[in-house]
C-alpha cells in the first residue's frame, strides 16, 4: 500500500530545533520526501543597522549576529577595519585575540556536545557539557566583563588587558576540560547507541561538498582539509603548532569526530598561547570614536569559527559609517541548502540530529 504524503511543520517552536526557525517536511511514514526550510523568524536587519551606525557603534551590534560564538564577528569587523586603515595590531593583542577565539570555539563545541547528544536522546550529556561551558563563560566574564556578549575585540587590539592571574585560571580550566573529555568519550562517542545513530546518517555527497560551499567541520568530515587558520593564516596562527583533523565518513559521525579532535587541538593552541604570550601594548588606539572615519575601500576578511569560515565583506566610502557590511555566515549554507538536501530521504527522528551536526545557527543565517 502506498503511504499518503503528509506535511509536518517542525518549528519554529519545537524543542528539537536549534533555534527559531522552521522546517516544513513532507513525509511518507517516517521517511522525509522533501524538506523546505523557512527562515525569517530572527531577521533583525543587521546589515542595514550597521549602515546607520558609526564605526565604533557597530562593534556592540555585530557580536549579536551569532549568539553561541560571538567573537569571530568582532574579529572579522576589527580586522576588516584594520586592513582598510592599515592599522597595526600589537602582538600581545593578537595573541589575546587568538585565545579569545579559541575559547569561543571550545564554548561553542561544548554547546554542540550537548545539542548533538541531546537530540539523540542522551540527556546526561547537556547537563555535563553545558555546565562545563560555564567555566569558559566565567573566564570570559573575568576577561571581558560579559558572559555571552563580550564586545572585547575591536579595531586596533582588544579592549582591556588580561586581568592578574588570568593565565593560570585559563590553564586550570584547560586541564579540567581535558580531563572531562574522557568522560564525554565514555558517555557519547564510545556509546554504541550514539555510534549507531550517527554512522551513515546525514551523508554529504563528497563530490558536491565544494560546489555547495560547505565549510568547517562538515567539510573536514568529508576529507577536505580546509581551514582558514592554515589556508590563510590570520593573527598569530602561523606561529602556532596545530593540526587540522579530517575524517572521510561524510556523515554525522565523521563530523562529530572532527569536532572532538579539534577540541583537543584548541586546548593545545590555548596552552601554546599562554606560553608564548608577549608583553607590551594591547591596544593601538583608534581616533576619536565620535568622528572616526575609515578610508574608502573594500575588503573581504574571513575567520574560522566553530562552524567554519565566517566572512565579512566590508565596504567603506570614507565616511564615519560603513557603506555596506555583508556577512557570510557558514550556517547559512549549512542550515538552509545543505539541510534541505540531507533531509531528503532521512528518517524523521534524525532531523534535529542532522541539524545539530551541521551547526545550524538560525540567528546567524538570518542576521
Amino acid at each position: 500500500m502506498r503511504e499518503k504524503e503528509t506535511t509536518l511543520y517542525l518549528g519554529p517552536q519545537h524543542p528539537g530545533i536549534t533555534g527559531n526557525m522552521m522546517v516544513k517536511l513532507k513525509v511518507t511514514g517516517d521517511t522525509i520526501v522533501r524538506a523546505e526550510t523557512h527562515v525569517g523568524y530572527l531577521h533583525r536587519g543587521f546589515e542595514k543597522l550597521m549602515e546607520v551606525r558609526n564605526w565604533m557603534q557597530v562593534f556592540p551590534i555585530v557580536c549579536r549576529i551569532c549568539v553561541p560564538e560571538p567573537d569571530p564577528n568582532e574579529e572579522n569587523l576589527a580586522r576588516a577595519i584594520e586592513i582598510l586603515e592599515g592599522r597595526e595590531v600589537p602582538e600581545r593583542a593578537q595573541y589575546i585575540r587568538v585565545m579569545v577565539l579559541e575559547l569561543a570555539r571550545l564554548a561553542s563545541y561544548l554547546l554542540w556536545f550537548g545539542g548533538q547528544s541531546g537530540s539523540a536522546g542522551l540527556y546526561t550529556m547537556p547537563q555535563w557539557s553545558v555546565g562545563d561551558r560555564d567555566y569558559i563563560l566565567d573566564l570570559f566574564e573575568e576577561l571581558t566583563g560579559g558572559r555571552v556578549y563580550h564586545m572585547y575585540i575591536w579595531a586596533g587590539g582588544v579592549r582591556r588587558d588580561l586581568p592578574e592571574g588570568f593565565a593560570d585560571k585559563v590553564l586550570r580550566v584547560m586541564d579540567y576540560l581535558e580531563k572531562r573529555l574522557k568522560h564525554y568519550d565514555n558517555l557519547m562517542l564510545d556509546n554504541s547507541i550514539f555510534q549507531k545513530r550517527a554512522q551513515g546518517v546525514g551523508v554529504i555527497d563528497r563530490e558536491k561538498a565544494l560546489d555547495w560551499g560547505i565549510v568547517g567541520p562538515p567539510l573536514r568530515g568529508c576529507g577536505f582539509k580546509h581551514d582558514v587558520r592554515i589556508d590563510d593564516p590570520y593573527l598569530v596562527y602561523d606561529k602556532l603548532q596545530f593540526e587540522v583533523p579530517t575524517e572521510t565518513g561524510c556523515d554525522v559521525w565523521a563530523r562529530a569526530l572532527v569536532r572532538r579532535r579539534e577540541f583537543e587541538q584548541s586546548i593545545s593552541i590555548i596552552r601554546q598561547i599562554m606560553e608564548k604570550m608577549p608583553g607590551g601594548e594591547f591596544y593601538n588606539k583608534v581616533p576619536n570614536p565620535l568622528h572616526w572615519k575609515v578610508p574608502a575601500g573594500d575588503v573581504y576578511v574571513k575567520t574560522e569559527s566553530a562552524r567554519g569560515e565566517f566572512g565579512y565583506y566590508v565596504v567603506s566610502d570614507g565616511s564615519d559609517k560603513p557603506r555596506r557590511v555583508h556577512v557570510r555566515g557558514p550556517a547559512y549554507v549549512h542550515g538552509i541548502t545543505l539541510l534541505e538536501h540531507l533531509l531528503q530521504g532521512a528518517n524523521l527522528a534524525d532531523v534535529s540530529f542532522i541539524m545539530n551536526s551541521l551547526g545550524t545557527c538560525p540567528p546567524e543565517m538570518e542576521r
Binding site: P12, N20, Y41, P68, R147, Y149
Partner: protein, 182 residues
C-alpha cells in the same frame, strides 16, 4: 499561611496559587538571542529545577511563556498563536532589554519594540543577556506575584483582547489566524 485579603482571594484560590507557583512549567521558545542563557539555567550549573521550573515541549503543557529577547514580526505571529494555545492561567516573562523597549534593535525595520503592546507581560528581566541568576530571580519574582495574586496578565489579555488584537494586526499584515471570542 496568612490570608489577609479575603474579598479577592479565596482559600481555594490560595491553594491553587500555592501549587501553581511551585511548578512553573516553562515553554522554552527560543525567540531571540536570549535562548542561549536558557541551557545554563536549566542544566547542572544553575539547575532551575530546584524551584520546580521545568521546560516543556508544547504550549498545552506550559504555564510560563519565556520571551527570550527580540521578536521579529514573523515570530510575533507564532508567539501570539503559541500564547493563545496555552491554558489559563498563563504567565509571560519578558527577557532582556528587547522586550522592554526594543533593545538594540530599536530602529530595526523587522522587530517589534514594546512587547507589552501585543501581549501582557508579567515580569521583565533586566539585561542583555540576563545572567542565569537574573532568570532565576525573574521566576522567583513571578512566584511572588502569583502568590500575591497579582500575576494576572492572562486576565488582562482576555479583558482587553480588542486592544491587543488591534495592535497585533497593526504590525502583522497577513492575519491568517483564528479570532477567539472568550
Amino acid at each position: 499561611m496568612e490570608i489577609n485579603d479575603k474579598d479577592t482571594l479565596t482559600i481555594v484560590e490560595h491553594i491553587k496559587n500555592f501549587a501553581r507557583r511551585h511548578s512553573l512549567f516553562v515553554l522554552a521558545y527560543g525567540t531571540g538571542c536570549g535562548a542561549i542563557e536558557i541551557p545554563p539555567t536549566m542544566t547542572s550549573r544553575y539547575d532551575a529545577e530546584r524551584f520546580g521550573i521545568v521546560g516543556r515541549a508544547t504550549p498545552r503543557q506550559a504555564d510560563v511563556l519565556l520571551i527570550t529577547g527580540y521578536l521579529s514580526v514573523k515570530t510575533l505571529k507564532r508567539v501570539i498563536r503559541t500564547y493563545e494555545q496555552m491554558q489559563d492561567p498563563k504567565y509571560v516573562i519578558g527577557f532582556g532589554s528587547c522586550t522592554i523597549n526594543g533593545g538594540m534593535y530599536w530602529d530595526s525595520y523587522n522587530t517589534i519594540k514594546v512587547l507589552d503592546q501585543y501581549m501582557p507581560v508579567d515580569v521583565y528581566i533586566n539585561g542583555c543577556m540576563p545572567r542565569p541568576e537574573s532568570v532565576i530571580s525573574g521566576f522567583i519574582k513571578l512566584q511572588q506575584l502569583i502568590k500575591a495574586g497579582k500575576a494576572d496578565g492572562w486576565k488582562k489579555y482576555q479583558e482587553n483582547l480588542d486592544w491587543y488584537r488591534a495592535n497585533q494586526k497593526k504590525v502583522i499584515k497577513n492575519w491568517n489566524m483564528p479570532d477567539y471570542n472568550w
